[in-house]
């Protein structure tokens, strides 16, 4: 049976389950007729486990296990008193805890940091004749920052591509605008937005065999000498926040990434020997 595992920081307040919200009741009615074991709750230490049963999209019974971490927060007296206030207005009849109708936990968003170079590139061009280029460049930069959200699965990464060619397009001289159709990544003809997912991935390397103690700043330090880094993703365990032993590093230039692979692969780090290779294009979307 598939199970989901969603630790939610604020769940301490979702804890009391005196009255179910109407949204639950509607769900229950919809699944009527099926016999589900009653949902159960267990609190062990600061971990609360809630087990529910429901039907999934394919009409199969699913067991849903949710783990909440209970937190005790210290606040001033006035804040603590206000937390216990009776609800009023439109929320008068809500049970305690967030109401699913008004409070939704949305998808993970990342803050996208921008490096200095991109900004300078934009500001250097004050010549009015270049304003059009500047505009397009801005768009290009903007889209470059949209990582992974709109990946076009139809344009698979052409494996044979020369790394230098692509790098040249990315770090091209500031004044020179290269239309998307002529850029290396966009040679897959036809698509109006040339494979921007690929461009990111092309300069991405995968580092494996990292030790558990590795932190993001360590990686930053390790890979900084090779060139500007766009993003570092270190896979971490949800509960312990320890590294799972692998990381992805997005460079701005494929050249730098290639350099990094050459130099760091086989490098001894924290008693382990690192394995560095090109990241495979994600096939999940």
């Amino acid at each position: 049976m598939p199970s989901e595992d969603k630790p939610i920081a604020w769940a301490a307040y979702a804890a009391e389950n005196e009255k179910t919200s109407w949204a639950d009741q509607v769900e229950e009615e919809e699944t009527g007729g099926m016999d589900f074991p009653p949902s159960s709750e267990k609190v062990i230490g600061d971990i609360k486990t809630v087990i529910d049963y429901k039907l999934n999209k394919d009409d199969k019974k699913v067991k849903v296990i949710r783990k909440y971490k209970l937190e005790v927060k210290k606040t001033s007296k006035s804040v603590a008193r206000r937390k216990l206030l009776k609800k009023f207005g439109l929320s008068k009849d809500d049970p305690s805890g967030p109401n699913k109708a008004t409070t939704i936990i949305s998808e993970e968003v990342m803050m996208q940091f921008m490096s200095n170079k991109e900004e300078e590139l934009l500001q250097d061009q004050d010549d009015p004749t270049l304003s059009k280029f500047k505009h397009q460049l801005q768009y290009y930069m903007f889209f470059k920052n949209f990582k992974g959200t709109a990946r076009d699965p139809s344009t698979e990464e052409p494996k044979k591509e020369e790394p230098e060619e692509n790098a040249g397009a990315q770090s091209g001289a500031p004044g020179k605008y290269i239309p998307p159709s002529l850029r290396a990544g966009g040679s897959a003809a036809g698509s109006s937005m040339p494979s921007r997912g690929n461009r990111d991935e092309q300069a991405t390397i995968r580092v494996t065999n990292l030790s558990e103690e590795t932190k993001e700043p360590d990686l930053q330090e390790l890979f900084k000498p090779f060139g500007p880094i766009q993003r570092i993703y270190l896979a971490k365990d949800k509960h312990t926040q320890q590294s799972k032993g692998f990381a992805f590093i997005n460079f701005h230039n494929r050249e730098d990434a290639a350099k990094a692979i050459k130099s760091v692969c086989g490098f001894g780090y924290d008693h382990l020997i690192l394995n560095v290779e090109w990241a495979k294009p994600s096939t999940t979307n």
Partner: protein
Amino acid sequence: MRPLMLQGHERAITQIKYNREGDLLFSVAKDATPNVWYTINGERLGSYGGHRGTVWAIDCNWDSTKVLTGSADLSSKLWDCETGVCLNTWETKSSVRSCNFSYCGNMINFTTDRQMKHEPRISVYDIREPGDSEPALSFVVDTKEMSKPMCSLWGALNEYLITGHDDGTLAHWDLKTGELLHSVRDHTHLIKDMQLSSDQMTLLTASKDKTAKLYEAATLNLLKNYKTDRPVNSAAMSPIRDHVILGGGQEAMEVTTTITKAGKFDARFFHLVFEQEFGRVKGHFGPINSVAFHPNGKSYSSGGEDGFVRMHEFDQAYFDFQLEC
């Protein structure tokens, strides 16, 4: 970070504000019901029912006992923060655009629009007096000199009132006489929002002319200028770091003609001193109308034209970030 989406409004958010301790978040929208939320988990504590039109502004006093709202239904209302009971209503001749408590919480002000042949007016009341008593101060803004005020704030020691106007003017008004002390006009379009820094020394304005500007609050000296490529609807200063968030996006009327991906509805982070953009957070699918920092600086919220309030808790990456110069 996983933002909490607060879905308590049917229409575009007009303003959001934290209380002083940061445990409550107030939101008002173009529907008639202001809401109050717990910031810890996004739970709605309640709503204030009684207005009949767009609510433009909301404020909470320093001990979070009273809430003031200003609405386009020609009234400003005072509420009990914890029960949602309406304590007083001030009827106006035109819609109320902004309202604020003074630092001490004993005085309130609100500004009204130029509408239906009524000139814009700035009114100040002492809420310790009975509800129907005369205003402590009420004066008309001379529209030959400057246009209607869009936002207002109390200045230091309740000596003056700061207003931001439709034509980009910033003005100081004497709170004893209603006299115009001085004004500056650096913005070329209307000032949508103003916020003071946590120490009340600097003032951050957000304008439709695609910039946000930082002023010295007491003198209105222009200190910094943050340029973007879209109208700025709201700007907030971090209480703990030298950071500024700008929220904006295209005009609401242009939204339908643009795709969301290129919509530029992300909150943009600028360095306070270097005026340099260093980060973006996306999420809204309409322009951001109001942004506010949590008083502890560890989270921020934004309210958008899409009707959602999003509460963001910063990741460690934000605190680790240092601008390379």
